[in-house]
């Protein structure tokens, strides 16, 4: 994907927040989502006013540093924010159904059925005391009224589909008898077992070794292609974004600072933070010895929400600008269609717009 022409649908972070009437209705529609964690030292605002739409078959990447609120956002989409965190505002609509504020019974009907989640650490994501088969059968039978025998058959078929050899027999194995890569395949199979319209993958390959990472990512892409699930890929690996996703939302301090197509991001990043992230990607062909590129400073403390741009202290432009320190940038659209929150974004039509 080298061209900067956004041939695939771009998620619109429209100012008024309304859905775009020109396209089919989004399967996932998030508006003004806010998630807080009440800690002893104060309230951490992990997700602050996040809005986006996701359509059938779309593959959206959410990128950002550790602590930018990516995982908290993913968990918010599932209604699975661990205490002491909770969604404090906004709306998450899945296939038109509002899920914020649902009780245990209501949200359980949605989880797995409308939205599936693939977790970061496959080694810890399966119950060590239960066989793969029993966990899989349980997953299927939560949403489908089938016999244990039929569910086992379905589980074996799905396991075969994700590349587990001798699947029927391996259902009787325990998680510790599977390798990390195989466990992640199992978890992907479980996440799609009830055919959710949206699959959220929260850094699904971070815990895997490099050789299995590519296989697992290819599998995710293949599965979503074949079944038409929309994919939200949470990652800090821009290589994954370029290879797998058609659009990108760059997250910083709990907000999307740039929403654009993958092509446009790699061709001309609009937000200084996006540019800094891209500058940190090492190309082995041209890399020289010496210090690795890094963004100076560290992500801001999320328990304070100061006026101004949260990236300003680390920003090559905003560091010296009075405006960036006092006025919070509102989303605006650049000439290539990217929506950025920055007073001095790089516009492909001019130096800074």
């Amino acid at each position: 994907m080298q061209s900067n022409a956004p041939s695939l649908p771009v998620p619109r972070l429209t100012v008024d927040g309304g859905p775009d009437p020109e396209r089919n209705d989004p399967v996932l529609s998030v508006r003004g989502l806010r998630t807080d964690f009440e800690t002893a030292v104060g309230t951490v605002h992990a997700v602050r006013d996040v809005s986006f739409d996701l359509r059938k078959g779309q593959r959206l990447a959410i990128v950002g540093e550790s602590g930018s609120g990516k995982s908290a956002m993913a968990m918010s989409l599932m209604g699975l924010v661990p205490p002491p965190g909770r969604v404090v505002g906004g709306s998450v609509r899945l296939n038109g159904k509002e899920i914020v504020g649902l009780d245990d019974a209501g949200i359980s009907k949605v989880r797995g059925k409308d939205i599936g989640l693939v977790f970061q650490d496959p080694m810890a994501a399966l119950d060590p005391l239960k066989t793969i088969g029993s966990q899989f059968v349980e997953t299927i039978r939560v949403h489908q009224d089938v016999s244990v025998k039929a569910a086992r058959k379905m589980a074996a078929d799905l396991l075969g589909e994700v590349g587990v050899n001798d699947a029927a027999r391996r259902l009787s194995d325990y998680p510790h008898q599977y390798s990390g890569g195989m466990r992640q395949r199992v978890l992907i199979a479980m996440a799609i077992a009830n055919d959710p319209s949206v699959v959220v993958a929260d850094e699904p390959t971070t815990a895997l070794d490099v050789t299995t990472q590519a296989q697992v990512l290819d599998l995710l892409a293949k599965i979503c292609d074949e079944r038409g699930n929309a994919l939200v890929m949470i990652t800090h690996n821009l290589g994954i974004v370029e290879e797998l996703c058609d659009s990108v939302n760059v997250m910083y301090a709990g907000r999307f600072v740039e929403c654009t197509s993958t092509g446009a991001l790699f061709a001309s990043p609009g937000h200084p933070y996006s540019k800094a992230l891209l500058d940190c990607v090492i190309d082995p062909a041209t890399a020289r010895r010496g210090a690795l590129p890094a963004i100076p400073g560290s992500p801001p403390d999320l328990s304070v929400d100061e006026p101004g741009c949260p990236f300003a202290p680390r920003c090559p432009i905003g560091r010296d600008q009075e405006r960036c320190a006092v006025e919070r940038p509102q989303p605006r659209t650049l000439s290539n269609g990217a929506v950025v929150r920055c007073h001095f974004a790089y516009d492909p039509q001019g130096e800074t717009a």
């Binding site: 359980s108 119950d127 966990q135 479980m190």
Partner: protein, 338 residues
């Protein structure tokens, strides 16, 4: 597998051997002359000397220990001077009473701890957790003999709903025919319902009091284990699949808690089998505990020695069993990795 079992058995035997030497030497080095204690204040020096000789106390420690182990291996636990019985006979009479009390206490402690901690953790409110923690602090902090006295005053003397410290049956109640030596079990086997009710009625109060300490310990352990498991990723994963709160708890949280309870509960059980000294004494319960308490006061070496050795053997055997059970219950140890 076989080599691990053999290794564990070797360690077990060494532990028991060590315990036998330790108790043997310790008891002979504490101040006070057992011969003098047995012979009484009015005995002459000659009588005491003769008694010392007959008890073998004049031999050196190695010879004494050799004699002791020799007779032990022949099944002779020695002679209790203070009661005039062989220690073997005493144990045979006393052990079932303690076993019955210990078993019921452990069952009460486990059931109560699991119920209380489950409620505390599962509830969305805070007060159940605080209540259970308070109750367990209270149970852990109060000396059982004091609780025993208090309970007797309230439930037996004031309210009259439980019997006084009269042992295992009401006076005049006939013992059931001896099969296991545990009156509740034997009376059921014989179909004597009245005896069963009476034995159970006598058992309940001391068993509950003995259960307090283990309850405190187990409920905390179980609560902490549950709370730890709730934070595990696989719990969130099963939720993400659409499982509701109760099935998640029931299938993926509680089993981990129960598994962690197994070794702790078995060691507590071994502890209780050695007798709860003071509670048995307060309730006039004719078990190992009250026997040991008397024997210590009487300097009745043979009895104390036998009980300490019995405790060591029980600990070793029960922890061995717990290990084997754990291995069987946990798939990670049962089924090897591929």
């Amino acid at each position: 597998m076989t080599s691990t079992v053999l290794k564990r058995l070797g360690v077990a035997l060494a532990t028991i051997f060590g315990a036998s030497i330790f108790t043997f030497v310790l008891l002979r080095k504490v101040p006070g002359d057992p011969a003098r204690a047995i012979a009484g204040d009015t005995a002459t020096e000659e009588t005491i000397a003769a008694l010392r000789k007959s008890m073998g106390l004049d031999d050196n420690l190695f010879v004494q220990y050799g004699n002791y182990m020799g007779s032990l291996l022949r099944g002779d636990f020695g002679f209790s001077y203070s009661t005039g019985n062989s220690v073997g006979t005493l144990l045979g009479q006393r052990l079932p009473a303690t076993l019955e009390l210990g078993l019921l206490s452990v069952i009460i402690a486990i059931v109560a701890a699991v119920l209380a901690a489950s409620f505390a953790v599962y509830s969305r409110r805070r007060w159940p957790d605080q209540a259970v923690r308070f109750a367990s602090s209270l149970a852990m902090g109060s000396p059982p003999f004091w609780i025993a006295l208090l309970a007797l005053m309230v439930f037996s003397i004031q309210l009259g709903i439980f019997p006084g410290p009269e042992g295992r049956l009401s006076p005049g109640m006939l013992k059931p025919p001896n099969v296991t030596g545990m009156f509740t079990v034997d009376s059921l086997l014989a179909g004597r319902w009245g005896t069963f009710a009476n034995a159970a009625w006598h058992l309940l109060l001391p068993a509950t009091i003995v259960a307090l300490g283990p309850f405190a310990f187990l409920s905390r352990l179980y609560r902490n284990q549950l709370r730890g498991t709730l934070r595990e990723t696989f719990v969130a994963v099963s939720q993400s699949h659409g499982l509701r709160r109760f099935p998640v708890y029931n299938r993926h949280v509680a089993p981990h808690g129960l598994l962690s309870l197994l070794p702790a509960a078995s060691l507590l059980f071994a502890d209780l089998l050695a007798g709860s000294l003071l509670v048995e004494k307060v309730f006039g319960w004719p078990g190992i505990g009250s026997m040991t308490a008397d024997a210590i006061i009487q300097k009745d070496f043979a009895v104390v020695q036998a009980v300490l050795l019995l405790a060591a053997v029980l600990y070793v055997v029960v922890s061995l069993l717990a290990d084997i059970l754990m291995t069987a219950a946990d798939p990670r140890t049962r089924v090897g990795a591929r």
